[in-house]
């Protein structure tokens, strides 16, 4: 049994006076201990809403949540607010894209870290301070004793993100959810943070749910990958399988759109036409249909089912998947 098992998670925003908006529309995936699972997709596809739902951080009002999320045998979507608050920090932790917004600007870093150690691990005084310093040291923050006394704005973006990781791992959580943890950072700093996350997974056996729009990051870090489009997973596979044989037209198209550092200059990109705004409701058919080159009338007869057209465990939600013959250029 997986550590986290998400089944048919759906999130609908039901603000009064507005049409219901379904942000997550039946997403399923598992995360095992010591495993990195990626959720990847373009802006607005429901990545952040998925992670907020799992952490119980969505507003209680005006939101309808469906499906299950079993974590260690308990449904995270059903337990009490108090229980969840206890689990957050000790068992589950999350890091966000913008570390500044998740740190308290008027409280020194040190106090923010020791508070967590006190609340979840019962450490006090000098003991807590020492542990806080060693956590900062662990994530590569130089001169931790001095840094503990400083306020978030005194740290650089990369250092803030490292401080946030230090806080997230302070209680050795079993599951870490990272929502675009490196998107706001420079690429050399991103490399440091990714290396740090990798080390955490390897050494502590932490399960990592990695949310990103960057397929390059996914290729280097994730064991399993879920490609989301308009609130649904359209393709899920192991990392090597997915990148070697992208089979859903969207995933295939995405990989053709990305300029690769190692591609010879002059090779043209193959963009997907239109934008995420050109979509139809999943209930009516495939949401990707208006942008899809493989589209047929069949695509407009309700949500396509998940199939395994290539290999066991490689799931694709498409009636006309990209199969090898179409991949071989003339």
């Amino acid at each position: 049994m997986a550590l986290l098992s998400v089944e048919e998670l759906s999130v609908t925003f039901t603000a009064r006076g507005r049409k219901d908006a379904t942000a997550v529309d039946g997403v399923s995936f598992d995360v095992d201990q010591g495993q990195v699972v990626g959720l990847v997709g373009e802006s607005g596809c429901g990545k952040s809403v998925t992670s907020l739902a799992l952490m119980g951080l969505l507003p209680r009002k005006g939101v309808r949540i469906g499906g299950r999320a079993e974590f260690d045998g308990q449904n995270l979507l059903g337990i009490s607010e108090r229980k969840l608050r206890d689990m957050r920090g000790s068992q589950l932790a999350m890091i966000f894209q913008d570390p500044l917004s998740s740190l308290n600007p008027v409280v020194p870093i040190g106090i923010q870290v020791t508070e967590i150690l006190q609340r979840h691990r019962g450490l006090k005084g000098e003991k807590a301070r020492k542990e806080a310093a060693s956590l900062l040291d662990r994530v590569g923050i130089p001169d931790p004793d001095r840094r503990l006394k400083e306020y978030p704005h005194q740290l650089s973006g990369g250092m803030r993100q490292r401080a946030l990781i230090a806080m997230a791992v302070a209680c050795a959580p079993r599951l870490l959810i990272a929502d675009e943890p490196t998107t706001a950072l420079d690429v050399t700093i991103q490399a440091q943070i990714l290396e740090l996350l990798k080390e955490l997974v390897d050494q502590e056996g932490t399960a990592l749910l990695m949310i990103t729009h960057d397929l390059g990051v996914v290729a280097g870090l994730c064991d399993e990958v879920n490609v989301l489009y308009a609130g649904r997973a359209v393709e899920s596979a192991g990392r090597r399988e997915l990148f070697a044989h992208p089979t859903h037209p969207y995933a295939h198209g995405l990989l053709g759109s990305i300029p690769r550092l190692d591609a010879p200059r002059g090779e043209p990109l193959n963009p997907i036409r239109g934008s995420i705004n050109d979509k139809i409701a999943w209930a009516d058919g495939c949401a990707f249909a208006p942008r899809c080159d493989h589209y047929t009338m069949e695509c407009l007869t309700g949500t396509p089912e998940l199939t395994e057209p290539r290999a066991a465990g490689h799931q694709v939600r498409c009636v006309n998947p990209v199969l090898p013959k179409a991949e071989v250029p003339a």
Binding site: E42, S43, D137, R138, V139, G140, I141, P142, D143, P144, H153, Q154, S156, G158, M159, D186, V187, T188, I189, Q190, A191, Q192, L194, E195, L196, E199, H213, D214, L215, G216, V217, V218, A219, G220, R239, R240, F243, G253, L254, L255, G256, S257, I258, P259, R260, L261, D262, A263, P264, R265, P268, L269, N270, P271, I272, R273, S275, I276, N277, R291
Partner: protein, 394 residues
């Protein structure tokens, strides 16, 4: 002679303090001696990390920033020394496209009005009917429907807004377009559309581009020549393929090793050169080689004391490092770790670099500047452009 030549360009921003911000307590050395040439019909790509001075350099070419020192020679004329009236005619020939298309488009103007404004100011088209024809033609070129003319910026997607930004530059029939992070606000699938569009337009109109971006893969894809910036200076310049095949400056090596490639085979073989610490502040750049606080090959002699000039190392590949040849030959060894140790260890060198970066906190509005690099200058531009455009009529 190249179409655009920069020679020793410096842009230093004074750091003001005191009750009335009347005391200059130092300078932000945003651009500190950059020389480069852009050939007609080609694309020069400028890469580097946040705050290294890319935008400032681009704006300096258009004289949207005061040039502290150096020359910007465009088609034989040094723009840096040109009186502002004479600058006007050059403004049309040098256009800019911004990262955040929405921030640089006036929300209350429809597309026709946005596009014809600049045309009228530069006397393009004898009347609005003629201008409208031209706009129609350009909209088609950038892939927008002609009914776009009567619509407003918020009615378009991010990719379409970027097309509007490009159209606004094109209606003025420029020679050079400076694209500042033209695709970084866009989703990947849309990014590719805009990159292809820029390439097609270059081909059909013979445009010259200076493309500024932090994404090395994007820059490598569209540029003929790439310049790598670090803390206000160029550290390496080479033809795109040559730079990828053999980066020679330690910073470029680290930068390239850090760019993720969407291919597990490549990622698994990758050896990352992880750098120590963070970028020092341009208000207080390290002495000598500006990269010496983080350079894995830093040597005891020269690195901390002498600033290495950008020198040709053969076949147009220029590098600013005292030890290029020795590093290439393997006769000087790495002095700092570059694996995970680089992240976890708290070496004195890293601490020192960080110390310097703290200077940031003391620059009154520096943090805001770096966090909103796109919107702030973009809006300022709109204002400046408007003023420039109004003055002739007055």
């Amino acid at each position: 002679m190249s179409l655009l030549e920069l020679d020793g360009v410096k842009v230093h921003f004074p750091v003001k303090k005191g009750l009335f911000f009347d005391r200059t307590v130092g300078h932000v050395y945003a651009v500190d001696g950059v020389s480069l040439s852009v050939e007609a019909g080609q694309t020069y790509g400028l890469v580097g990390e946040s705050g290294c001075g890319k935008t400032t350099l681009g704006r300096a070419v258009l004289r949207l920033n005061d040039i502290t020192d150096g020359a910007v020679v465009f088609d034989g004329t040094d723009l840096a020394k040109l009186p502002s009236e004479e600058m006007r005619s050059f403004r049309r020939r040098l256009q800019m496209v911004f990262q955040d298309p929405l921030g640089s488009l006036n929300p209350r103007q429809n597309i026709e009005s946005i596009l014809s404004e600049g045309m009228a100011a530069h006397n393009i088209g004898k009347d609005q009917a003629e201008r409208r024809e031209k706009i129609k033609e350009i909209l088609a070129k950038v892939g927008l429907p002609s009914n776009a003319m009567s619509r407003y910026p918020h009615e378009f997607s991010g990719g379409q807004r970027q097309r509007i930004g490009i159209a606004r530059a094109l209606v003025l029939e420029p020679d050079v377009i400076i694209c500042d992070e033209p695709v970084s606000a866009l989703d990947v699938s849309v990014q590719a559309q805009v990159i292809n569009l820029l390439e097609e337009l270059q081909e059909s109109l013979g445009l010259t581009y200076l493309v500024i971006a932090h994404d090395l893969a994007v820059v490598r894809h569209i540029s003929d020549v790439i310049g790598v910036m670090y803390l206000g200076g160029l550290v390496e310049e080479a033809p795109s393929d040559a730079l990828y095949a053999g980066p020679r400056h330690p910073y470029t090596k680290a930068l390239m090793s850090a760019v993720p490639v969407p291919d597990p085979e490549v990622e698994d073989r990758r050896e990352r050169i992880l750098l120590h610490g963070d970028l020092p502040s341009p208000a207080n750049p390290p002495a000598g080689c500006r990269f010496h606080t983080r350079c894995p090959w830093v040597q005891e002699t020269k690195c901390a004391t002498e600033r290495p000039p950008l020198l040709d190392t053969g076949d147009g590949h220029k590098v600013a490092c005292h030890f290029t040849a020795e590093i290439e030959a393997g006769t000087v060894k790495q002095t700092l770790a570059t694996g995970i140790e680089a992240v976890v260890a708290t070496e004195a060198v890293a601490a020192e670099a960080v110390e310097v970066s703290e200077g940031d906190a003391e620059v009154p509005d520096a943090p805001a500047k770096t966090e909103e690099p796109a919107t702030v200058p973009a809006q300022a531009d709109a204002g400046e452009a408007e003023r420039a455009e109004e003055s002739p009529k007055a």
